[in-house]
């Protein structure tokens, strides 16, 4: 209960920082924080596996990649002041938030969680469904990652 709401507040704060910090590295760190919080939320939702994966993949790999790129390019000049678009963008986004919230939250949504067993969210069950029902998507995902790697190498390689 309390955990959730504190997490929620922190989460929203950090996300706002991601968007409104002007310093790229600060944005990145805020995002790391947000991801970490989300991971904790996952754990509270009986998805420890996914939570840890979240940290491992996002915080551990993707965000480090971001930081790496930031440092590699090291954009000296701070980004220019936002154009006209930002007021409009914010308004539209707020509308979107309201609309989404209104849409997703209806009354017959279950208030109480499903009575979860011990195995629910455990690595075994996740692995089971991954390698039985979702084996094809799994393989496709692996191929996708391979393609991404190759593409990244080709793109970022300095042409001599």
């Amino acid at each position: 209960m309390i955990i959730f709401y504190t997490l929620a507040v922190l989460l929203i704060l950090s996300s706002l920082m991601v968007v409104f910090q002007r310093n790229v590295v600060h944005c990145a760190m805020a995002l790391v924080a947000a991801l970490f919080l989300i991971a904790i939320l996952f754990v509270t939702l009986q998805a420890p596996m996914v939570g840890v994966l979240q940290i491992l993949v996002y915080a551990g790999a993707i965000m480090v990649l971001f930081l790496f790129v930031i440092m590699l390019l090291n954009p000296t000049s701070l980004e220019p002041r936002r154009g006209l678009s930002w007021g409009f963008g914010t308004v539209v986004a707020l509308l979107l938030a309201v609309a989404l919230a209104a849409l997703v939250s209806h009354d017959e949504a279950p208030a109480d969680p499903f009575a979860a067993t011990e195995l629910f969210g455990a690595p075994e069950s996740l692995a089971k469904s991954l390698f039985t029902d979702f084996v094809l998507p799994f393989e496709i995902a692996s191929v996708l990652l391979l393609i991404a790697i190759v593409g990244a190498v080709v793109l970022a390689k300095r042409e001599h």
Partner: protein, 378 residues
Amino acid sequence: MIVDFGIIALKAFLVLFMVLNLAGVLGWIERKGSALMQDRIGANRASILGFAGMGLINTLVADPVKFLTKEDFIPPRGDKFLHTLAPCMALFPALVTFAVIPFGDTLQIGERVINLQVANLNIGILYVFAMGSLGVYGIVIGAWASNNKFSLLGGVRGSAQMISYEVAMGLSVIGILMVYGTLELQEIARGQGTLIREFLPESWRFLKAAIGWLPSWGIFLQPLAFLLFFTAAVAETKRVPFDLPEGESEIVAGYHVEYSGGKFLMFFAGEFAEIVTAAALMTTLFFGGWQVPYLLRDGFHFPWGATWLLPHLAVTLLQVGAFAVKVVFFCWLQILLRWSVPRFRYDQVMRLGWKMLLPLALLNVIVTALVIVAVQQL
């Protein structure tokens, strides 16, 4: 309820205490050991009433005091907040990792069974890696926040290197997970309590006779994995021969050029804490954790049939002691390494990580899978 929390808190405190002190002692070992190897005297100046204690005073008293009393310098154009945050982020992961490392089997007091492990997560090893992956931030942020080209270079190097070796590290452990069939470190440690013959099918008589008597430790079941893991772990600690991020001779002191005083101490401690973590992981995954060969719950059962029963408490103490000894041994090994080998070149580091460790780790996984299938078939 209260008691449980108390116990957990006690365990946590114990572990932290041990680790930090060990880190401190390691600092001493490092300095005096290097002096020994290089035929120097080493730290011996500081003394209390003429008592230098072979430099113990120097490293355990004088150095901390010096660090803590020095000026905490923050570069003017730097980023104050991140500059302060970085050292914590460097130290934090190394410490929290210990939460899941079992330093002993269950201890039974009365009818209360205490699992000698701070937190028993069913995804233990993944947790370890997750935390380890956070270790990068300390470097990267620190490097960036100090607004210094050398530290920036160090940060870039560090991030690239650590990401690269995390991959190899993770893959090298997969074999272990397949063999013991679990992610929980405690379970892995227990799995190493039996003998290899338990893992071999009936029909492989000769093999059973030859090596069946060995304890079923990871090192025997996954030798290649150990080599890979060891290399990757040393690389993760960013120490010689993988100290590219610091590389004194190339980029002054790398990512912590601009650090002094307490923050530098934290980096320093973090590095040693990482050593301890690595050692503990090697112990747990490949050297039976707290297991003592042939020592079961109720005493020794030797393969040739002899038995020597012991009381529960003695067994537990033996096991915890064994764990400690192993950890210290691996710490010493890493420090020894530091003074024995020169630094790699950067491209060599990358080639080693991506073109040797990674393929070998994959190969190890495949071979392990095949063997396991074969064994199950028989």
